[in-house]
Symmetry: D2
Subunit: 329 residues, 4 copies
């Protein structure tokens, strides 16, 4: 860490900061600048806590060189982590994994139809929401455990592992019995207790980036799960909130190669939620794979016009079959 | 709702949409424009669900005139709701309520010292966090239930009702026994299950705006609590995330008079988290009151330089006493 | 346009609005809703001006169905516009055009070396800045007209048309004599007088999206040039400013397929300025082409480490040659 | 400046960077961290140029402790600058200056009526736009020089200095003959040539913050004017663009006390453009003064409902007279 002093900081103030650094068992390294003094803090093993230095007279700001996460970083774990979901392996530098299925499980017919379509087209994993986070309480909230059961049955029938979202701690065990992978949605990326608990149930976790989460916050959220003893975490970029509202969100594809350098955890891309418009989803799916994503997750509905949730962004069976042919062609 | 058709939509496509509207028991009202056709959807009692219209051929976009919330709106409840926390009343058009205390409860000494300071200076409610949502798992996570107990004792001693944050459903009952008001933090604003459950414990709720929540999403989150049978909700603006990072967040004071026209629920302002710098907090506190906020919540620590959490934004006892004198002077 | 009335608007207020609509020669179409009245405004040939309706009692908001641009829209000009720069054609549904060269022209040696590299690798157009918009006045401001002359000589030698940025009106004629295409930078996207004047000099224009410009504003800026009689406009997405600052900007690739549906003007992508890091630029270049961009513009410097401007985002000759091989391979 | 090395940087790479620093006549100061090495760059008189260090092997990032501006900073000029516009003085720690008038000059009657209203209510300066930057070319573009002449006549009659926007270099001399202060609008904040030229005409300049300008960019834009020899610059916060679109922009009042510490140039606030709604403007005007702004600029129109530009945000004569009474009461 670097402590930057005020331009007019007195020698006594600089000395005061140096003493507090030493008192913490750390090594102070003053750096006199043209303009103002800065003091390096050396000797730490990880992230230096600012607390002891806050409010000391003459201190202007703190610059962290070390990041607030460690376990997720390539600095400490250079090799790619490969996450196993059923018999499917997800990792950087592997063939991209295609996850597909409806936004929400709506009925036995719908989820079985979707499962057959995505399997036939060549997808590797089946998705479907049973617990749905909806902006307002008056919208369809999902089928609950019945939906999880139906999804699991459908996955079994077609031979695909399944991933489904969890929203509360007391759901975890029961969903983990049926699901191969548990998804934490964007709105719960900083629901830290859910992160701590999901780490314990022995299933891989698909963690979505929060709508306005910085990459540092995203990685720190994953760090909660790894700290809890579970390194089977798949990160998922799903669009960020910006001033531009022509599309639902802004899909931030630059993070794919950027994070590949920083973390060993695989990152997949969800173009459906990011874009919100069916006709654009196939373009962005291809782009995600071109920039090196470890996989993609796309919404497919047997009959998008009848979907109870996110119909406009769901691909039809024909759309998806065509997309898969292009991806593998 | 208004359904806007593509410019090249055929008469058959327009007819198709009209038929679906009628089939829903609603009344279609075509509006031929210079440029393209739009179709009004009339006869609804609340928010019209887009689902049945999605994906119909020729449909370009949906424009909602009715909002996705109802119970929180002045349209349906014109009079101000007054929230009672202990013997303190919070409402628009009432004297502003001052809530103060440390970011986190750290020890018996600290919280009692803080309680005495804020009481002596004239605050109306005591705040303090026992469960702390921290970006990374390696930071101090709060004292837990012991912290709640200490805060409650301190509040009792000085005669102030207390407010403290809850983060998980299985904490609610136990915290509600001790706390006069339960806070839902910004990161949990869309933790919808927590919202549903907090509605049931019989305590007023202080709901903070999410870091990137639109006002519509903010009100829809409050709607979850009112839908659960609890109208004792205090809204709290605490700064939003923008491109500007010179200060911690951007305090969005324009929402105060704006929301006063829209909702009967009182809105308070938290300048400490929004700004992140002690020397600016008093200015923004005064501004919040000038624009008509129902109250403010400010962080006060007996010794900010020793704070385990958010020290740089905490006022010292002297700072706070001076601020209170200015507010009431 | 749709005029939405307040929920409590009186019949007299509705009547008042209807009268003003009629007085403008337009046709009012009241739409009584469950919740509130809205009034459609029909009979317009283009964008309806809000002015006469603003401030009328009972009016809550205006919803525009028609957009504030017309000439740039596919609604009025369905066929792709093909822009000719020298002998190079830029258009949707054509082979993507590769524009490459240094951020800034720095010397005869540098620009000739760059020109030879990009030509040899297969680029179609040479870029280079002679007038540089720099955040602060103490940074290198470009070589000026001498730089334009050098760029033109280098382009001529290798047989590539050139594009270079213009920043002020009194430069236009002189630069237009030498350059095949004039670039308007992101910071000048809403320098409306520059747009009006650049339309008159008889050269194609490459218009970059402003850092925080909505797509509507971007298209409206292009509309200024088309209104001035010049339809030879190439749009350029170059990243937008968001809360995420890990990379220089957020490259918004979703706009490529989105704008392809809306405008006949070709759109290219500048991944270099968007991303700001050399090692990520090739990934995003490929992604831009995969999503259907009409071209890309990338920064190439003979010796990036010595670049006076934007070195960290410039590709080396080897990087660029490798990228071109991958694109055409 | 601090150069942060990659975690795996070799001693040779560190040595290479140190040599380049020395070769620039600067002093290297290595800081070995727990995690990675950083190298302080000392001995500079101002902002250190990154260029020579970019692309050196092993370099990860640059952290600037010194800012890209100097003349505008209190570090180099601790005393408040007082800007004189006619006989009005604008400065921090002075009574706030009230600037008022219509968005656009529309006619002799309108501007004289506005001038009389704002003078009678106690304003200190008259504003009015004659050259209007409009999003699209089909909107009213202002009266041009005739508008400037009318504004000047109206100002003379009521005895108020005037401020009006300039948009192109060849307008400067002629407008400067008539206007007491020249405004550079938000869209031109980084029209650097306009900044360079406006510095030379011998009039104070009112510089508005760009819609998505960081404070560093805002101050660097002002630095262009001071570098040109003119220190008579008034800064103006006018709202920033964020994800929240319920109001026109987000008024960022926290910057007022923040910038007061950083720059000697006075900052005023324009709540009208920031908020866009008449009924909220008075609240934000009072808040701007409470947080210490050197002044405010508000739009007042004799008849807002007839305004050709920005009617919904313009105060009526009665609104403004009432606001002024409250401000001075």
């Amino acid at each position: 860490m670097l402590i930057v002093m005020d331009r007019g900081a007195t020698p006594e103030q600089v000395k005061g900061v140096i003493e507090v650094i030493s008192a913490q068992g750390l090594t102070p390294q003053p750096i006199p600048g043209g303009d103002r003094v800065a003091i390096g803090v050396l000797g730490n093993q990880g992230y230096v806590d600012e607390s002891p230095f806050r409010g000391l007279p003459g201190v202007r700001e703190f610059i962290h060189v070390t990041k607030p996460f460690k376990l997720v970083s390539r600095d400490f774990h250079p090799e790619d982590t490969v996450v196993k979901v059923g018999n499917v392996e997800v990792g950087w530098n592997r063939p991209p994994v295609i996850i597909a299925g409806p936004c929400a499980v709506e009925s036995r017919e719908q989820v079985f139809a979707a499962a057959r379509v995505v399997k036939a087209a060549g997808a590797h994993m089946l998705r479907g929401g049973a617990f749905k986070p909806r902006t307002g309480p008056h919208s369809f909230q999902g089928m609950g455990f019945e939906g999880v059961d139906l999804l699991a049955e459908a996955g079994k029938e077609v031979g695909l592992p399944i991933v489904t979202e969890v929203m509360r701690i007391d759901q975890l065990d029961r969903v983990a019995e049926k699901a191969d992978c548990l998804q934490i949605g964007a709105r719960n990326m900083q629901n830290f207790d859910l992160l701590k608990e999901v780490a314990k149930v022995g299933r891989p976790v698909l963690l979505k980036r929060g709508m306005s989460a910085t990459l540092e916050e995203f990685l720190a959220a994953a760090e909660y799960i790894l700290s809890g003893g579970n390194d089977q975490v798949i990160l998922c970029e799903r669009g960020i909130r910006t001033f531009e509202r022509a599309l639902r969100n802004t899909l931030d594809l630059g993070v794919v190669p950027y994070l590949k350098n920083i973390t060993h955890l695989p990152l997949i891309v969800d173009p459906s939620h990011a874009i919100g418009r069916r006709e654009i989803v196939p373009h962005m799916t291809k782009a995600a794979i071109v920039v090196g994503a470890a996989g993609v997750m796309v919404e497919v509905h047997p009959s998008p016009a009848q979907a109870l949730c996110d119909g406009p962004q769901s691909l039809s069976p024909d759309d998806f079959t065509k997309l898969m042919a292009e991806l593998t062609g």
